[in-house]
Amino acid sequence: MALVDVERIGGFGGFGSPGSHLRSRGIVETSDLSHDDQQALEALFDNSPGGGDLPDAFKYRLTRQTAQGPQTVEIAEHHVPEAVRATVKDELV
């Protein structure tokens, strides 16, 4: 694993909705993560627990490049390692 695009979506404000001016994005280099976090991140791609259904909760859209092309999963916030969550920055677009 190398670079993973991280986008935080949803929430009360509807981050990342079509036409929304709210974006929250980041990039994580997996080699910068602890071994435990690398394993946890790998598990999210291999066996996605899904985005959950808590009202107004954030979800994370994670994208990595594979030999078969980009792989994207959407994961409920509390599944995502803190070090990955910390890479995003909220912005107005």
């Binding site: 979506i9 949803g10 929430g11 009360f12 404000g13 509807g14 990342g16 909705s17 079509p18 036409g19 929304s20 001016h21 709210l22 929250s24 071994h35 435990d36 394993q39 946890a40 598990a43 999210l44 066996n47 627990p49 899904g50 959950g52 259904d53 808590l54 009202p55 107004d56 909760a57 954030f58 409920a76 509390h78 599944h79 390692p81 909220d90 912005e91 107005l92």
Partner: protein
Amino acid sequence: MFEIQREGFIDMRYCCHIVPKDVLDRFAEDTRLSDELREGMSRTSRVSDGVRTLRVQAGIFTTAVQASGAQFVQLAAAPTVTVYDCKQTQTPPGTLLVPPYGDPTAKRAFAETTKVANFYQALFGRNSIDNAGMTMMSSIHFGVKFNNALWNGAQMIYGDGDGQIFIDFTNGNDVIGHELTHGVTQNTLQLAYKGDAGGLNESLSDCFGSMFRQWEAGQDANSADWLIGSTIMGPMAIGRGFTCLRDMANPAATHCLNPQPINYSQLTPSTDPHYASGPPNLAFCVACKTKGGNSWEKIGQVWYATMTGTDATPNMTMPDFANRTRQVARKNFPADPTVFAAVDKGWKQVGL
């Protein structure tokens, strides 16, 4: 994974959605992981079974009660309102705060949550979120510069905002009304958080959040601004010309941080709930302004009766909800045909 409070108490209510059990069990036995992480995985696996069971059973129980026509035993004549401080951690509920509250955020969370309870009791005859007097819990100062507020299935959670895009989310009484209404929906229609149902779930929270705000301000439907989140805008958002998150009277307006569609035909099954709530929000607003007077007196009563007068319908469609409100308008206000006319106009405005 789940988060453990620093005191060591596992907040099961926050552990509603977890990594699949077989993955947890595999990691729990992986000797390459630290002992602490493996123990955490093992504990999560044991807890997750119980939490998942509880959550499923709660839904089944609510459905069964609705089917039998029984009422929940009243836990209390009026709900207790509690406020906890997460102290910038993400481990709810946090530390219980005891009144008198010195923290302005705590004061607001307590005062407005109490008023929402009064709003539901006085206008709709509802005793708290579950109509049985359940305690209304709020956790404040969640996370660091957290630009969000949410209902986690058991309580409200409020972030402080980053001070740029958003300010403290407890500054929005519509936000507080919105989040608490998610709890009401969970205890009534149990709308799923995807597709049409997700958009309805979000819309009901905006409708009742806005009604609460209007009620507290003494505004009628034609005096209200129908904006959602107008009082949590930070200086960066305001400086860029944004006045709100959403505008129920004009969902596609450019002054919204989150503009929305205005017609049902614009929605798709995968539409985010906060985007999909545009058409039903507009329908409700048009109905209220057409009828005139206070939004909660007639049209709000129709919406509440529709929300509570039907068994749990997790996958309710918007056309179905619209038709039910028409039926309720005719049935509950037989002597006032203008109620039906207003409801009908609202839905036709959005293509339903």
